[in-house]
């Protein structure tokens, strides 16, 4: 905690004009600028939306796979393949997505060969686009295997198969069992991890650096760009943004309590 507090102290004093190249004594000017800056809030909201959408899509895929292939994920050969995407660092996955989805990428070439497009420009802009489709696609590829394993472990540890059979014996249909037994338990047990992943995606740096655009920017990229810019007036603003981001994340941690990694914990014997 000490290094984080020391770092925060420096960032806060820089953003209040107490230190740094343009330091003129205490001023709230940069904080006022930061809090009224449209691009800052756009950046936070954009990052939050990307995080929420990525986690939601991953969750849908992960729950479907965990429920359909639960046995194969736990024991069969599929158990090795489900882990394979976890070997990909975010940088590598972002590079792969760029090579697939860019206008001169592999999918664009296939679309050209099949006659769907007639030039590079005809291919839809899905990387470095306004809606962050490339970032979401990459985040989904990175997160889904993790969620699948998480859901599969919850399914096994909470003995959901037994509960599902019990529910059906008591007269519930398959869809009722899914809606009223399986999904609520899976969600209840994983909600903290899901929230943490929203924060992870919000704070991701490598993926938006490769697949994002200048506006709107993900929060990490925006902070780094503000601090590394040649415009010295932007540096205190960047530090104010970083302090705001840290406060936001710590607040979430305090409000929602200790995240449980029970279902991913190793068992030492």
């Amino acid at each position: 905690m000490l290094p984080v507090l020391a770092g925060l102290g420096y960032a806060l004093s820089y953003s209040l004009g107490l230190t740094g190249l343009l330091s003129k004594g205490i001023t709230f000017e940069y904080w006022q600028k930061a809090l009224t800056s449209q691009s800052l809030w756009a950046s936070f909201l954009y990052s939050l939306s990307i995080g929420l959408v990525s986690v939601f899509i991953s969750l849908c895929f992960a729950v479907s796979m965990a429920l359909s292939w639960n046995k194969s994920i736990q024991q069969g050969r599929l158990s090795y393949f489900i882990f394979l995407p976890l070997c990909f660092p975010a940088t590598v996955m972002a590079f792969v997505v760029l090579q697939w989805l860019s206008p001169s990428g592999w999918f664009s070439r296939i679309a050209f060969e099949l006659g769907f497009i007639h030039s590079l420009n005809d291919f839809p802009n899905v990387v470095r686009d306004f809606y962050g489709i490339g970032i979401i696609f990459c985040s989904v590829l990175l997160i889904t295997p993790f969620f699948t394993i998480l859901m599969s472990n919850i399914y096994r540890n909470e003995n959901l198969l037994h509960l599902e059979n019990l529910s059906k014996t008591l007269g519930a249909s398959t869809s009722e069992t899914l809606r009223r037994v399986t999904l609520p338990i899976l969600f209840q047990k994983s909600k903290m991890t899901l929230l943490l992943f929203v924060i992870f995606v919000m704070g991701s740096y490598e993926v938006p650096l490769i697949l994002g655009r200048q506006y709107p920017q993900m929060v990490s990229v925006a902070i780094v760009q503000k601090i590394q810019k040649f415009n010295l007036n932007d540096i205190p603003l960047g530090f104010a943004m970083s302090v705001l981001y840290v406060i936001l994340v710590v607040l979430v941690l305090i409000v929602f309590g200790k995240p449980s990694r029970k279902y991913l914990k190793p068992h030492f014997k």
Partner: protein, 253 residues
Amino acid sequence: MMSKILKYSFVLAVVFPLVFLLGLSLAQQWQFPEVLPQQWTLQHWGNSLFQQGDILKSLFLSLGLSLSLAGTVSVFAFFMSKHIAYSKHRQLYMRFTLVPYILSPVVLAVIFQYYFTVANLSGNFIGVLIAQLFFALPFGIVIFNNFWNEHLKSIEQLSFTLGASSRQSLLKVILPLSKPAIVLCFFQSFLVSWFEYGLTQFIGLGKVKTLTVMVFSFINEANVFYAALACILLILPPIVLLYMNKKILILAR
């Protein structure tokens, strides 16, 4: 039948990025709209591994950095986690350990950078190692937290009752029992460092050229063939770890 088709499609989708990267690293010329490269070559691999040696240097630098971090984290986390686990304020300390872990590494790098510049630690190996330690040590403590329990505490107390000194108890009782936890912590810290880019780039000022930094510099140069080659080298160690133990991978993400 449908389920089998879906399973095979899934396996294909999972393996395809690896095959794609391998193909790209072996390509020499690949102009639009060709679906497959027009020319194949082993030249990039030969150049990288035997002639120019930039990628090879980065590989060894990344290995050195990740192994040093993994070793340091394993030792420090082992002792610190014991004190935390048996402390009255265990819950509070454990919450603190999650703060750097949850914050974006690059945001941490931004707020640390001043101190690293003042201490002359920016742009060198030791600086990056220390910066990664701030991020990975709490992670190591989280891993060990599950290991220290009442059962282990009673075994340790039993060894004292039977006349063992603190040193003997540590070396002959606790360490042999903690081998799986230490191995897990070592490999997970290794992967945290191995996957890291933002913090390394920011504190290393681009001078500490790990493999992830190299991938970015190849992407910026639009040198996709060498970027793919560096990506393959980045994926290989985690795949080896996957073969050794699946659990090692899951907590590192």
